[in-house]
Symmetry: D2
Subunit: 363 residues, 4 copies
């Protein structure tokens, strides 16, 4: 089950970038949840290409296809199979140059693990396209989170070294959907767009940071000592291709803080327990404390660049040169934003069911 | 099974800080592995207090007690139960002030999750003492890693904002055991010790960063798309109390890099495939690529500080003041170094068994 | 993951009887295994209706559709998604009488568990049609078992109280494919056919017993103390609708035996350790001993009978009368024979991978 | 985790017959459940030897030792570690004759699986003594079942071919604790005792059948299609050494029944839905239907008999003769009765938590 996330709300991924389809099975979703194709399509559309200058020109017209688990517009309690069929996949490049290991990609490691039998076309299982499955599952998870009022917001915090000035989560929420880079800061967006355009011209790519918030999370979610909120969410986030770091709350900045600076002091506010600061990112001892869960995710620059790169030919075991043609995102950060949201939603949904806060049948 | 790590080499934690014992069960260890109490004790001793100025004065004389799974000095294939008995635990403070939520600790979240039934003494399940179990399990994991030559090295990279200058892993390995802060840079160590002394006098605490390396890891370990090397290792590392961030290779620095800077170019070196740089931290597509696995872990400053802090009384639901007495580490980073090693060893061991590189019986 | 079997070779079922499709995802299959559609279709055809007098007249033309995990005619190591599309499903009966609980079916229990949201048409998830998925997964499992020479044979041992005289497993193997009832005893077959015809005329149904053998199983498979060979195989077999009992070797007959009668005495035979008798059914301490694994499965008579039955109306909560029309198997035993084989193959395959007898890549 | 049962209420077994201890860890028990040592000891005492003529003379004075998870006489939500320390173990026989494979025991299969490294003394992990752990876990499970009124009753149905006349479950419940064979039929008990005495004199042993009932089980428990009530309960029951068959309701008798005989007709009774007959054993479609869950378990005669038996010497690979001395139960059926109850309780408890019928904190 190395292609599954979650213990109760279990999401299993299948499909390949240039195979028949990319899909997901959700096992453990309560029965009685109203779900329409539109609910899922809305989320799916958020990761489609054409978000401004940043993305690939591959025309993905991904329409969700519901194969099982939904009947009379409600979940049935049975496994929900959702998929998008692949079209418009051009495998010629991959077939031709498959022996040339693309730097920064999984070509080499997949070759070593699967003995060369893996479907290498378009990156196969390692393609960003696989995340369409998580986004569809995340759409279902969000419907469940709605029941108890949990909200997920994610946005582009940084691209190519340019950092957005973070505002309130409500401001981010409003801004993010309209923005071509899913960035809530118009000034930073402009600079990022220029940096992206420059990188495109130079045949290069850019990385960045995505930040996510979960709001109205009840205190008490998380299953320490091993299935902590941080641990399970990080595991899900590292399943997104290109993610190389995950931090919560103050994150790596805690290293330079003193206890007196880092501790979030408890106080009664409007009759409820809360903390003035949120260095803990809403999590203490691996359990949510009711404050917003905040997470940041480092996304590496797309390894596919159109410059010539040194590499080796795995068949001849000789040094070689490689030039990647194809169509590629200069910066995947904007398209990864809804994927981060989806992973957060999936993780929280699993913990909510583990905490038995939603019954087997939703009404 | 929220107290377990690993799918094949499964480590289950039990015990409380001030209860009878702290222990661990390892299920799935191959039979025939020579294991002595000394093998485990050596690792256990690395996390004992008294590492210079940084640590608590609680006299922990932790001796491993092997309850099952080892017979005639070899593993039997049956579950291995290892524990350390608790002694010298002074619960008076915890009993007296239990209604006062300690900021930065799990008091509040545990209260919310377990309805006040949790063993709060000494932090109970949320105490750093629980990590003794991981260290014992890590000692067994290391014996298995020895078989295929994998080596784990961890060291203190940063304390209180003071960063060590990293050297070769072999230099780190040599330096780290002798150093009171598990830091391989003598100059930085001196500054760190001064910062710790200063924090102690001020009744404060310090955070830091630990870095780990796994060397000689065969290419092909990791189980994407969900059980990635990064994801599973991060999950294990987030089970260490106080960890708030985990990054691999270039980590968060990828956000400011271009693809041409971040891609590690493949080349044939001494007949083997390797990369000149290691921004990937030895992992591509969630699978090891044969280069050293490098991970950095952000450790927050100990939340127990001896200054007065604002908080609330959970019984009266009123604002209150709290002064934590007891004995506490000013900085837990040095003692967490062997725990990071243990978690890396446990994770790698599980992947090695999942990849079926070690048979059911070791000879 | 309540729709999954197996820990390493994991089979997840999805789909409904009258929904879009019935399918399965296999996660954990080694890469490099040659698999064609024909390999799967052969097994699928064994459970198709029209096996003589016993079965439904619903025209199921089930053709396997491979959605993922197979590339260039070999497994890739990625999840394998296999399905059959539903056609020819007539849901009129189910829509009309859905409030009348069919005795012996899961109508009531599904209603209670899923709050009435389950897809009730044709029994939904509780239909025998779901077993098409297991049969497809079993076809892949058998290809893996072939590698180490394990063979699975199953046959109809009893129908309607008429017992077949068991012969050698090789005789059974030869006879079973040609026989309309999957019974290796021609005399018994004739009587069974008459009993089936009689039951059909009377609007009734018949139960029976299926026996399975696994031959050339290496000694040492099984993972006690909890994941025993018997326990895991029984769990898989009880996932077949209508199974109410599972026994191994002498089974329930052990109750009347003395130790001296039941013990299988070890002896050296042709240089190999074996036992003269096989009351243990090839399993001691939950682990295979190299003798044939023998299992018997009790299959209840099809609950759908065309006689009028007393029941209740779940909407009105009043007593009612029900007459089931539709098309139904008088006796599902013959069609369940390949499903028993499939479940045995899946279980053994999982244990073989758990024992690490087949590497990650098959060549 | 091959030594664990249950998904939410997870019971992990450890320890060996002649090692330091036999124990169990329960992970996932809700917090706030009142548990005393006495609650557990009561169940443990039920499986102690000295139940009349049937059992071993090994003086087991098993006192439960609670190592973790219980604080202030309540469960804390943390893993509960319970164990009994071993005493009075005489390993001389096992050391001396270890190369002689005991027929009917796991000596050979354990040797093959663990390469001879297993702790063979007293059968090690394969000893009936391991079931003490399940009984302790079952005691906790029963406390949880009490909350929703579920009751478990088990009794000796058959020993040595002598069958007890079954009465009402309430009659069985009353009779069983006083009876030396845990049999509710005094007449049958007398015959059984004679048969046991005869077998003892002849140096032989007897098998039997245990029957279990779960009463007041709410309709809707079970997680099809793979984690059925039958499948999970059977898996747990097959973890009891010596069990070779498991059947529910009419069990293997369904093979001779017609649908019209086997279907349990629904009717409204006292305003509740129930069935007049219970051939389904309280389970339809793998889900409880509110009627008593009834299960029967076939227990093989103790393989240790004091007659000379043919076997082989695993070291010399030559045929040999073996005479087992030691102290052994002539018939383990009576002592296995509380183990069957425990396994039923553990399985039901897990399903109740999976169905989210008991919250995280019990009050």
């Amino acid at each position: 089950m190395s292609n599954s996330l979650g213990k109760i709300f279990t999401v299993t991924s299948f499909g390949e970038s240039h195979g028949r389809c990319v899909g997901v099975i959700i096992d453990g979703c309560p029965a009685g949840l109203p779900v329409s194709e539109k609910d899922i399509q809305v989320e799916l559309d958020k990761r489609k290409p054409g978000m401004g200058a940043a993305s690939t020109r591959r025309a993905e017209e991904d329409k969700v296809d519901i194969l099982s688990g939904i009947f009379n517009k409600h979940t049935t309690g049975a496994p929900i199979c959702l998929l998008v069929w692949n079209q418009d996949s051009d495998s010629a490049f991959y077939e031709k140059d498959r022996a040339l290991l693309r730097p920064g990609h999984a070509d080499y490691t997949a070759f070593m693990k699967y003995g060369g039998f893996n479907d290498f076309r378009g990156g196969g299982r390692f393609s960003g396209r696989i995340t369409a499955g998580y986004v569809m599952a995340g759409a279902i998870a969000r419907k469940l989170l709605d029941i108890i009022g949990v909200e997920i917001i994610a946005h582009t915090l940084e691209i190519g070294g340019i950092e957005a000035q973070v505002k309130s989560t409500s401001a981010i929420k409003k801004a993010v959907e309209q923005n071509p880079l899913r960035c809530a800061d118009p000034g930073a967006t402009e600079k990022m767009l220029k940096a992206i355009e420059k990188a495109r011209k130079e045949g290069n790519s850019l990385g960045g940071i995505i930040e996510g918030f979960a709001i109205n999370v009840p205190a008490g979610l998380g299953e320490p000592v091993c299935d902590t909120m941080e641990g399970e969410m990080a595991k899900a986030l590292f399943a997104i291709p290109a993610v190389k770091g995950v931090e919560f709350g103050a994150g790596f900045a805690v290293a330079g803080k003193k206890g007196s600076e880092n501790n979030d002091l408890f106080a009664i506010k409007h009759g409820k327990i809360s903390t003035a600061t949120n260095n803990a990112g809403g999590i203490l001892g691996g359990i949510s404390n009711g404050m917003p869960i905040t997470v940041r995710v480092a996304v590496k620059p797309t390894p596919s660049i159109s410059r010539e790169q040194s590499t080796i030919n795995i068949d001849t075991m000789k040094n070689a040169k490689l030039e990647i043609k194809g169509r590629h995102d200069v910066c995947i950060v904007p398209r990864a934003v809804p994927v981060v949201s989806a992973m957060m939603a999936i993780t929280l949904c699993d913990f909510i069911l583990r905490a038995r806060l939603i019954p087997e049948v939703v009404k």
